[in-house]
Subunit: 882 residues, 2 copies
């Protein structure tokens, strides 16, 4: 950029100058530079815009002079002149660095006035055409520059058509247009109190200032804030000679992609219309032709266009989205930019281009947004389907499903066994519903958040779930539910979309997941470049198997409580909780021991050769007991009915226990290692089960180095907790080793999920061999947000009104939670340089968060199996950026 | 300390050498140094102890030689010898730097054996006496050095008494004692497999080693850990010539305080026994005489003792706790140390001593533990009363009360109006119980924690409350409650102690608070030295009045929600919450406006000249609604009974609202500024009420500078929350100022109660003029402890088993919460150097926490009015330390 130069002719720019010339301008210059047919023009820079906005005294004289200077050159180049007999007509377009809505878009045909319109008519020999251009110009200019509402012009047009009894503007004749332009000019005079500007220079300066001003419209400001676009970028203005696709039958206009943006298939994809301007293609009154037909209609133009597209793709090394116009058989390029594409297309194009030698593997990886892959991994509602959902809950587990509504888990199982597809619909689910969840295609609950039982279990199973759908009112006893006053009987077919939280009545077209060869190939390239290891959160041998298939390098979080939830185990777990003394509790625990041992055997077998991090029991015990309110009503009923006193006493005792275990804030209650300290026998049993499983596998011949247990103590906040829990693990292990005369090495570490743990991480690292950041809970405590509550209460409002720019449970809050993670890493490594660091919160599957975790130096991330491909790609991108 | 010197004769020590000689030894040396009659002796240093413990090879030759060297000097000095005809008998006592239980205490009469016992008998002309000394020596030595259980010796003594059919050992004669000593020696041989050591040197070395070893007994280690006494201090050993108070009728022993340790009254206070040894005074078989009687019995000795006591008090400049022995008319001092005292005595003595010119005001302040003052401020259970409580809950609000049990608030009010004293007993209280709480002497609940409704309201009113007393089972409908299976009818008189959480059946003797002139004087001295300002947490004009009386320099926390809880307001608040649209809600708010305005007028009037920090509405809205479970049962009942459908519909709607507002973790839910953002109309009303109140007072003539409102936004975690809430306050204020054509200056700040707020405090300080640390909530989130849950669940276990050394809700957790406070201060002041910093959590009234707050540089602390004197004293002590 030359100092003080605010205007660049296309010939002086190129595609590297986006920040100065805006995206559109830089690409127009680039196309001109490489010899493509671009109607000549010039660009007023973003610097000029910033100057203009900071001065707030309008366009200043030097700038005007510079513009007029380039205008003169342009007139000279094209042999036309503003207001002359060969009138110069131009388009004025905004061109921000990053394209954004809310900016002034386009003014066409600038330069027309009562005099030049007649010159134009004479020149092209078509007065109707000239008047139509004039009419369009007045309307656009008045709307965007003079702020005269567009609907007022549309009213005049509508009246004209009605008078004439025709359907389209094309059917209006020269006389009609004469009257319309006069009416338009009158309207402007009436609305603004001034005449429509006739001087083309004045028109041009007004249009440029309007583009600059549009940078600060409310909509543009809000959009920038939401998308974190700096306010200082400014916008450029593109001034370009008009070409007319609507001049004749050998004229036309069209848009095309260099490859199919839906599928990624190679080959031109687009459409065109003859004798039309750009807006006609969009308006949808006439049906455009597929681009391939141009080959027959105008073979030479088609061939030229094809060559141009190839040249552009090779030049830009990416699929292009192109606008073109044909004026009397001459092809003009009006825009090129990188084309938007669907996820399958993105993957296909990236892989194809690597194979074509156009781009490198690293470039291919950088071109895919990991989040896009989500749609390739789950069944989803066809985005083309009508979006007529009847209610919306929380997107608790991704994927889509249809099925008959069932309220009862036993019935769900029964119907599923009869070959029916069912959706389990409940106020909330409890561990008692586990067989119903297994039987169902998906789960819909009217209460509960993203961490409710239904949500957690569904995510673990990879089943779609919508939770906390508060519009849904279920009347279980009478067998129906209502949404917005409408009643639906049990058995009706509904569909849910767990990715967005939408609920539909009836079946909805679905798209199956597309796990293509290209996809697999791309992800394997990601593995070549990433630094972060990627593990899975998996609680069962099945989960572990799936995780390995999806590329996991270990288990980062095995939640032992999920093993407690299985239908046949729950009664034993409840017996353990309700035990009136230690010996009763230990009896129940010894029933659980072989069950947990069996799970661990299966998991270690699947994960042979990879580390497995097992978290000891974490949730508060009341989560395993029946719902308090239901029990309350039941006891009340038993009391009233003078029923079996034994049963009443039993239920009363159960209620008393449930009440005494219930907590005001279970999230901050008696859970995690607090359980392990108060009831050491529970943790002892779990540790026993782990080591017995390992020794059994050793006996069966699995080599020792294939078994890498990492025992994780949850919710540690004080050094002493970690010390005592480590002692418990070591003592229990020692006993088993002595008993079986066989040892194995293992790690004991902690989950970092409390702010205090981060602040004293140096003390913890003295005891713990690894840290795994539990960023879900760390987010809850650091921000003081209950995930279950906030996602259905204030959080949506916060996001919608931009108090928060992203959901901190989806994308890690770098300033708060992230800061604590950094503190913990620094303190932890200061006392133990080889401290193993990972993350097992749901942020482990979120690309923006993975970028952060790579940056701060974690060793691995762990996420749910279904997000593994996303995490692998995101980790690769993070490595490429870092 | 001379290098390599491990033994100090009394003559070489003084009171400054406590760390080397231990407390007891240093004081013995000091007394000897200033010419008081102390039986000669020497001290083996703490250094010797540390050497001994690190070497673990017993007493080493050089040490033994040094001891023997001093022993020889001692023999020379007193003209006696180990094993000689004039046998040297000594006592061996431990002497830690800080006195602590678990250490070996005392061995008397060391040096006796079958030979010397006869020499002694001959010398004093009393063989029974000599045998009695020998018997005692064997028993003590065997117990503490040889680890032969004391009960085995007691068995022998008991048998002897039974044989002789006498009640006391004094009634046993010489022959009995001959047999007993023989039996004792046999017992030692049987238990240890060895003869009892006869060589006095061997006895001495064994005793010294036993004292050293006792440093590492489990009990001593645990005590040090709990009291944060370094393990490296070690203990000294005191070796001192025996004197015998039990030698004759002109011998005796006693203990005395130089002033009354209960009341602080000047003058000797103590007791003595003639012909007795120290342990006889303690044993309680003979009743000791008041010290004053010694004046008549042995006038010269008394006069000498009185002079000695005066000398000691002047010398030590504090009240002394003294042990003495008289041997044949000669007075010997055996110990002096600073005397323990009750809180009233501490205050009285400190103030008296300042007036006597003995100590300075600053010294007086440093001598009082602020925590002690608690007992001066509240009615309390007489500590002399038998501690026969039947149950224990949480100490939710200090003070004690008795009254008839009432379950129902209406009835409580009615009985109170009939002049009866009642205690309100409920499972939990709700805002509906407010009139019952007002009517009651105190409140007892079976559920709920330290921040339950009952606890918070009671603390605010200064009424005793015990909450979460889970042993208590209330059967409201049948009118009784049970504790440990015992049934008590409504109407029974009980007593509660809100300071300790104890519950008593019946009336218990109480002590009224003692707010003496000395107390007031002492606190006024505190105000002269403290740097921290002290404010009160006060929600009503009455609170504010009390706060001013107790020395508040402003209100640090005015919780506007407590204004919502008043009986006549609650229905309006509920109307506001249940409003189906904005206009209904605004109608209810406009009813509340004049009520809140009235409160603010009263508060600002009371606080004229002082700042008043008003926190806008903080708790989640469901706290103002009826109990969910009660409502559930009620709706269930209405449904069953087919009652008035209008009523049913109303209750169903209410239940639906309660359910939709209820939260899994209300602590982390929709509260604080999250309410203000989603329902700005609520905050607007509150801000309006504040400024209307102020303008009214201005009109009434209160000068502007006397009105210092500080509006506090609660639960801010993101800058944007603070920005928007400040805008709301400013806009609302501006409207009122414009309307009334009058302005006033005010501050807008935030409560820092989330970890995230601390981590981005620099961003917040750009917007907020002050920070007030809400350390209650900050502790909950930083540690992940729900206060309501943890205090009744795992926290007692954590404290009892020393996982935590103090309750983080009582004393601030410096490593975690404190670290965040420091981060916030540093970040906040980095962008706003004059940022006003305070604390309004309950730690504001806790001395250890106040020390911290002074250290990190807060401007003020705020606490409940009743803790103001404690806080003022603690702030002074902190300033003196810092």
């Amino acid at each position: 950029m030359k100092t003080g130069q605010y205007v660049y002719p296309f010939a002086e720019g190129d595609k590297s100058m986006k920040s100065l010339l805006g995206g559109k301008g830089a690409n127009l210059a680039e196309m001109a530079r490489i010899g493509l047919p671009v109607p000549p023009g010039f660009i007023i820079t973003t610097e000029a815009c910033n100057q203009y906005l900071s001065k707030s005294e309008g366009l200043w004289p030097e700038l005007k002079a510079e513009i007029l200077d380039h205008l003169q050159q342009l007139e000279h180049e094209v042999g036309r002149g503003f207001g002359s007999e060969r009138p110069l007509l131009i388009s004025v377009r905004s061109g921000a660095v990053i394209s954004m809505p809310g900016m002034m878009d386009t003014i066409l045909n600038l330069g027309l006035n009562p005099v030049t319109v007649e010159h134009l008519a004479g020149e092209v020999g078509n007065r109707r055409f000239a008047l139509d251009c004039y009419r369009r110009f007045i309307q656009m200019f008045a709307d965007v520059v003079l702020q005269v509402g567009n609907h007022l012009f549309e009213n005049i047009l509508t009246e004209a058509r009605q008078r004439k009894k025709v359907r389209t503007d094309a059917e209006l004749d020269e006389a009609d247009l004469d009257k319309i332009t006069t009416d338009f000019l009158d309207l402007v005079r009436k609305e603004t109190g001034k005449d429509f500007p006739e001087d083309p220079q004045e028109q041009l300066f007004l249009a440029i200032a309007a583009v600059f001003d549009s940078w600060n419209t409310n909509r543009a400001v809000v959009y920038r804030k939401a998308n974190r676009i700096p306010d200082t970028l400014g916008t450029a203005v593109n001034v370009q000679t008009m070409v007319f696709g609507n001049l004749s039958e050998d004229s036309g206009t069209g848009v095309a992609f260099t490859r199919n943006p839906s599928t990624g298939e190679a080959g031109l994809y687009g459409e065109y219309l003859l004798n039309a301007q750009g807006e006609d293609v969009v308006a949808g009154i006439r049906t455009p032709h597929p681009i391939s037909e141009l080959k027959d209609t105008m073979p030479e133009v088609y061939e030229q266009f094809l060559q141009t597209c190839n040249k552009l793709e090779e030049h830009y090394r990416d699929m292009q989205d192109i606008e073109f116009t044909i004026e009397k058989g001459n092809l003009y390029m009006l825009q090129t930019r990188t084309g938007k594409r669907t996820a399958p297309a993105a993957v296909c194009i990236a892989v194809d281009m690597v194979k074509e030698g156009l781009i490198s593997k690293k470039e291919a990886l950088q071109r895919i947004e990991p989040e896009q892959l989500e749609q390739l991994l789950h069944r989803r509602i066809d985005p083309e389907a009508k979006d007529n959902y009847v209610a919306r809950g929380l997107p608790a587990s991704p994927g889509a499903a249809s099925g008959k509504v069932v309220f009862d888990s036993d019935k769900a199982k029964e119907m599923e066994q009869n070959g029916e597809q069912v959706l389990l619909v409940r106020p909330e689910t409890t561990p008692d519903d586990i067989h119903g969840i297994i039987a169902a295609q998906g789960i819909l609950t009217s209460r509960g958040g993203m961490t409710s039982h239904a949500a957690v279990v569904a995510r673990g199973m990879g089943k779609p779930c919508v939770s906390g759908c508060e519009e849904l009112q279920i009347n279980m006893s009478k067998g129906f539910f209502t949404i917005k006053g409408e009643e639906y009987k049990e058995g009706v077919v509904i569909s849910i979309d767990g990715t967005t939280g939408r609920v539909f009545i009836g079946e909805v077209p679905m798209i199956e997941p597309e796990f293509t060869a290209e996809f697999r190939e791309l992800i394997s390239w990601a593995d070549e470049v990433r630094r972060l290891k990627v593990r899975a959160n998996a609680d069962t041998p099945d989960d572990a198997h799936r995780a390995i298939e999806l590329g996991a390098q270990g288990i980062g979080l095995c939640r032992t409580e999920h093993m407690f939830m299985a239908a046949e185990r729950l009664p034993v777990v409840q017996k353990m909780i309700l035990a009136s003394d230690l010996s009763e509790r230990e009896a129940a625990l010894s029933e659980l021991l072989p069950m947990q041992q069996g799970d661990f055997e299966g998991i270690f077998k699947e994960m042979a050769g990879f580390p497995v991090t097992i978290r000891l029991l974490d949730p508060p015990l009341h989560e395993f007991l029946p719902d308090r309110e239901e029990l309350l009503l039941e006891v009340d009923k038993l009391r009233r009915e003078d029923s079996d006193p034994g049963l009443l006493r039993e239920k009363e005792m159960l209620l008393h226990k449930v009440q005494s275990l219930s907590e005001f804030n279970p999230m901050l209650g008696h859970r995690g290692c607090r359980l392990g300290l108060v009831y050491p026998e529970i943790y002892k049993m779990q540790v026993k089960a782990i080591f017995l499983a390992i020794l059994k596998l050793l006996e069966e011949g699995l080599p020792e180095e294939k078994l890498q247990p990492e025992i994780m103590i949850p919710l540690v906040g004080h050094r002493e907790e970690m010390v005592r829990m480590k002692q418990l693990v070591e003592k229990t292990a020692e006993e088993i080793f002595n008993d079986k005369r066989k040892k194995i090495s293992y790690l004991v570490g902690t989950m970092i999920e409390l702010p205090r743990a981060c602040l004293i991480a140096d003390q913890l690292a003295e005891v713990a061999s690894f840290f795994s950041f539990g960023t879900n809970d760390l987010t809850q405590t650091t921000l003081g947000y209950s995930r279950d509550d906030s996602e259905s209460k204030f959080l949506p409002y916060y996001l919608q009104s931009k108090i928060l720019l992203s959901n901190p449970f989806a994308e890690i809050d770098r300033e708060g939670v992230g800061k604590l993670v950094e503190i913990a890493i620094e303190k932890g490594r200061s006392v133990r340089s080889n401290l193993k660091l990972g993350i097992c919160g749901e942020h482990g599957g979120n690309p923006a968060s993975i970028e952060f975790f790579n940056l701060v130096g974690l060793d691995y991330i762990s996420c749910s199996p279904y997000r593994l491909p996303i995490a692998r790609l995101a980790a690769a991108k993070a490595a490429l950026q870092g």
